[in-house]
């Protein structure tokens, strides 16, 4: 049975939520009553429930199988985190309650801040940003605010070629000209090229470390020193923090600002695209420029600094309504407490071990883009597929039929037909072996010339390949009532009458 749109299932007069009848009152709407109908369909509760249960069954998910999307850190999402996030007194607090009535909430935020600062070895953290990219924006704004406070106008920011697209987009939003720094043959940023581009008009560098090739930037301290020498700041994209938890603190590498994706490293669920949370840790030099609000300990317990004034006068402003993604803070802190100092270190070790295990188990069949040990993800290019007529995309789609979510494809851009595989620490060796077995099976099939099999993959998924070009050429971004009349007709044709 196909699942029609919710709009194609309504019958006027049904209700899915019972509520009291409004008391008749004298309207205060000032004559601005809505007279147009909204156009929403009316359904009963069981219909809505069934609709979304059915939709869900068309999704792949970590809970259902291995999801080795490189750079996305698709690890186990513990259910206890969901449970505590819903406790009465946590999940139901209003953001504008008097702070005297939310001391537990503020303590929680303060406690999470302590964990984040300790893990990164940085003296300050802001909890405002709603996501990784939002955290980047926060970090680079702090950098620009710091330069401005110093009376300096700097115009350029350096970003390695392999960076996430958000890095240049963020720099642009802060008014900086983005300059790409090429990679060396070993997959790290080219230090010489970097040094050459440095100058007094450079505001800073945005470096992902471990980088998007899954490699640790061995020159990181030199990079930090160089950028500091010219008075710039070192922004570190913390997307890959998972790989180094408890093994090295970014603060010890000269980092000035780094966002932390709570939804990656600390396992708040990805939720099909969000919500995330991207707290940013700062060095002493940048801390004063952090956005409001933040929590402080006052005489009568915890307090919230919500305005740019007084102690917060240097703050660059506000990034978000209210106080950040509290729901995600709860989950992340529960995750951290569950791991502790010992578990956090084990995360990094097992994540890196798993990636290297995959790397060596596939590198006779696939070409590792860069030699040697990788960190938490293994990067391959498509040279094995050369001449087979099978692309990275085709291979990925064939993996769907094997019961796996595909790896990240065509990213980073510095590698041809890239396949970036991040297993994370929560996967067992048995699962890795199954994945490796499936990859080897398909690679053999591809090199044996069974091209058509790949071109038509996937075969067993809820949908086969979708026409993405058509979707972009003629965007249909919402349901249009006229089409539904047809759909309803179709439904009734298939039924008896």
């Amino acid at each position: 049975l196909e699942t029609p749109l919710i709009f194609e299932q309504g019958v006027p007069g049904r209700i899915g939520v019972d509520m009291a009848d409004p008391k008749p009152v004298k309207s205060r709407l000032g004559g601005l009553e809505r007279k147009e109908s909204v156009g929403l369909p009316d359904l009963s509760e069981p219909q809505v429930l069934r609709h979304f249960v059915r939709l869900s069954r068309q999704n792949y998910a970590i809970d259902a199988g291995f999801y080795p999307l490189g750079s996305c850190t698709m690890k186990h999402n513990p259910r206890i985190n969901e449970k505590v996030a819903r406790l009465a007194g946590l999940g139901d607090l209003h953001p504008m309650q008097p702070t005297s009535t939310v001391q537990g909430a503020l303590e929680l935020i303060d406690d999470l801040a302590h964990w984040l600062k300790t893990i990164t070895g940085m003296p300050a953290v802001t909890m405002s940003p709603a996501a990784g990219a939002h955290g980047e924006l926060c970090g680079v704004m702090a950098i620009r605010a710091a330069h401005e406070a110093n009376g300096e106008v700097r115009t350029r920011i350096l970003v390695p070629e392999s960076a996430h697209g958000t890095n240049p987009a963020t720099a642009a939003l802060c008014g900086y000209k983005v300059e790409a720094v090429p990679a060396r043959a070993d997959g790290r940023m080219d230090l010489d090229a970097f040094a050459e581009k440095l100058g007094p008009d450079v505001a800073g560098v945005m470096l992902t470390n471990p980088n998007t090739c899954g490699l640790f930037e061995t020159d990181v301290k030199r990079i930090a020193d160089l950028v500091h020498e010219i008075g710039g700041y070192f922004y570190c994209d913390g997307a890959n923090l998972n790989a180094i938890l408890g093994r090295v603190r970014p603060g010890d590498l000269g980092v000035d600002a780094m966002h932390i994706n709570l939804h990656k490293t600390f396992s708040t669920p990805h939720g099909g695209g969000g919500p995330g949370a991207g707290p940013v840790v700062f060095s002493e030099g940048l801390a004063a420029f952090a956005p409001v609000p933040y929590v402080i300990q006052g005489e009568n317990g915890f307090e919230l600094v919500e305005q740019v004034e007084g102690d917060a006068a240097q703050s660059f402003g506000r990034m978000k309504g209210f106080h950040g993604q509290m729901g995600m803070f709860i989950r992340a802190l529960a995750y951290m407490q569950s791991h502790g100092a010992d578990g956090l270190r084990q995360i990094a070790e097992d994540a890196v071990l798993n990636a290297n295990y995959i790397r060596v188990s596939l590198d006779d069949k696939l070409h590792s883009s860069f030699a040697g040990i990788c960190m938490h993800e293994a990067l391959f290019d498509d040279s094995t597929l050369k001449g087979t007529g099978v692309t990275t995309l085709d291979l990925a789609k064939a993996m769907i039929d094997e019961g796996f979510h595909p790896m990240t494809m065509y990213f980073p851009l510095v590698v041809h037909g890239a396949m970036l595989i991040e297993p994370t620490e929560s996967e067992s060796r048995q699962t890795l072996d199954q994945f490796i077995g499936a990859m080897r099976y398909l690679l053999d099939k591809a090199t044996a010339g069974e091209t058509d099999y790949f071109l038509s993959a996937p075969h067993f998924s809820p949908r086969r390949r979708l026409d993405e070009t058509g979707a972009a050429r003629n965007p249909v971004l919402r349901w249009i009532p006229d089409e539904s009349a047809d759909a309803n007709e179709k439904t009734s044709v298939s039924a008896a009458s």
Partner: protein, 449 residues
């Protein structure tokens, strides 16, 4: 540790397969002087039982608005979220999926986003909507950036009665760009006049409806004036339930609607995560930030959905992207979609009527108290009271009596003496008559009358 499956033996065997002697060899690229040898100075791992206790202890230090009369609003509203919504978003297939980059195995997320986009377009009266933003405030800032791109103009006029957080976020977001905001002063007492600020330099006028104080305005004339000057009208909606009762922004002539969707499906959760709404006209869609889900067909000709127009986005356009956003409020938008589906036409409009009738009932009770008056004649489910004393102090006193009696305006607009005695009060379907009466009694006691 319960989340990590490897045993010591497996780790040893796996290291051997990798061809290294010890785990430390895998971290050899880290500069030696920075390598940590000791554990971080943090507690060791805890059992699930202890973690749960820890959070129960923290929760017990807060006053749950669920267990006490609560009249807080100011951009976040207490509503009853049907249990079905929270149940569905906890289903593994929604909770633990990533952004739907592989549409063949992500139709659940994608179809739900398509339904979300349609619902947002319908309630706002606009042609199209995106797949959600972080929250209302960031959505407002993105709407302004978008208006600047669409008009190729650089100045945005911001209403003084826009929620202060939205104003701050917009100003902060624009501060280092080539664009700027013109922030009008707060006009608690009356209707703003934008005439002097509308001209061919201006990209957009941003106005909230109902405004921060709760006042409802007809923006039709303003829209006309804007359009004459090539200016876009950005309408901010921060209590989305109001759209079930009030003429929609689209009908009033809005070009972009930025909204906060928390009221539908999303728990209060001390301020986040929420779900930003962004809707506009079809012709502006290529200047829209954020994700978009579009309808298409698969190779068997079956209807299906994909993320689309990604050429706008940072992972393709990099520094030329419409925004740096690469995530949305996925689960929150799903909860919104489910709750809105449960409501339907009948439920959504009835919920809005019910909220209005609750607020009117409460306003009448409060107005009757000596020295208390209503600042605004028109309102939906939230209004501003003028009290005979400092509102922040009164709110603290009410809290000691177990009543969460509104938000003092001074918390959001500090240091303005005019605002000191103003109190924002909201009433939704969740307040009982007893709650209202408790409030009245407590307020009278606190005011000494």
């Amino acid at each position: 540790m319960r989340y990590m499956p490897h045993t010591a033996t497996e780790r040893k065997e796996m290291l051997a397969r990798v061809g290294v002697k010890s785990i430390d060899d895998l971290f050899a690229d880290i500069p030696e002087e920075a390598r940590l040898t000791d554990l971080l100075d943090l507690p060791l791992h805890e059992s699930e039982m202890v973690v749960e206790k820890n959070f129960r202890t923290l929760a017990a230090k807060n006053l749950s608005p669920y267990s006490t009369p609560c009249f807080l609003g100011a951009g976040a509203y207490q509503h009853h979220v049907p249990s079905v919504a929270d149940h569905i978003i906890q289903r593994s297939e929604f909770l633990t999926a990533y952004t739907p980059y592989q549409p063949e195995i992500s139709q659940g997320t994608l179809q739900a986003l398509f339904e979300f986009q349609t619902q947002v377009a319908l309630i706002t009266g606009m042609e199209v909507a995106n797949a959600s933003m972080y929250d209302g405030a960031t959505s407002c800032a993105e709407a302004v950036l978008m208006a600047c791109r669409v008009t190729r103009r650089k100045k945005a006029v911001i209403s003084g009665n826009l929620h202060p957080h939205y104003r701050d976020v917009t100003r902060t977001t624009l501060q280092f760009t080539e664009f700027e905001t013109i922030d009008l002063p707060t006009a608690a007492a009356g209707i703003e006049n934008f005439d002097d600020h509308i001209n061919s330099d201006i990209a957009c006028v941003v106005v909230q409806n109902p405004d921060f104080f709760g006042r409802i305005q007809d923006l039709t004339a303003l829209a006309d004036k804007c359009h004459e000057a090539g200016v876009l009208l950005v309408v901010v909606v921060n209590e989305v339930v109001s759209l079930g009762a009030i003429k929609s922004p689209g009908e009033m002539g809005a070009d972009i609607v930025a909204g906060e969707g928390q009221s539908i499906g999303v728990p209060l959760s001390y301020g986040g995560p929420y779900v930003g709404l962004l809707a506009t006209r079809q012709k502006f869609v290529r200047q829209m930030p954020g994700r978009l889900c579009g309808q298409t067909v698969d190779q068997d000709g079956k209807r299906g959905f994909v993320l689309t127009l990604s050429t706008r986005e940072q992972h393709i356009r990099r520094e030329k992207a419409t925004s740096n956003i690469c995530t949305n409020a996925g689960l929150c938008s799903l909860a919104f979609t489910i709750h809105m589906s449960l409501l339907g036409e009948a439920g959504f409009t009835k919920l809005a009527s019910l909220n209005h009738s609750q607020a009117v009932t409460l306003a009448e009770k409060l107005e009757a108290i000596d020295g208390v008056s209503l600042l605004n004649d028109t309102f939906f489910n939230e209004f501003t009271l003028r009290l005979p004393a400092n509102a922040a102090e009164i709110v603290e006193k009410l809290a000691t009596k177990g009543v969460l009696g509104g938000v003092p305006v001074s918390r959001l607009i500090p240091k303005e003496p005019d605002m000191a005695n103003l109190l924002l009060v909201a009433a939704t379907e969740t307040c009982s008559t007893a709650d209202m009466d408790d409030f009245v009694v407590a307020l009278k006691e606190v005011l000494g009358c």
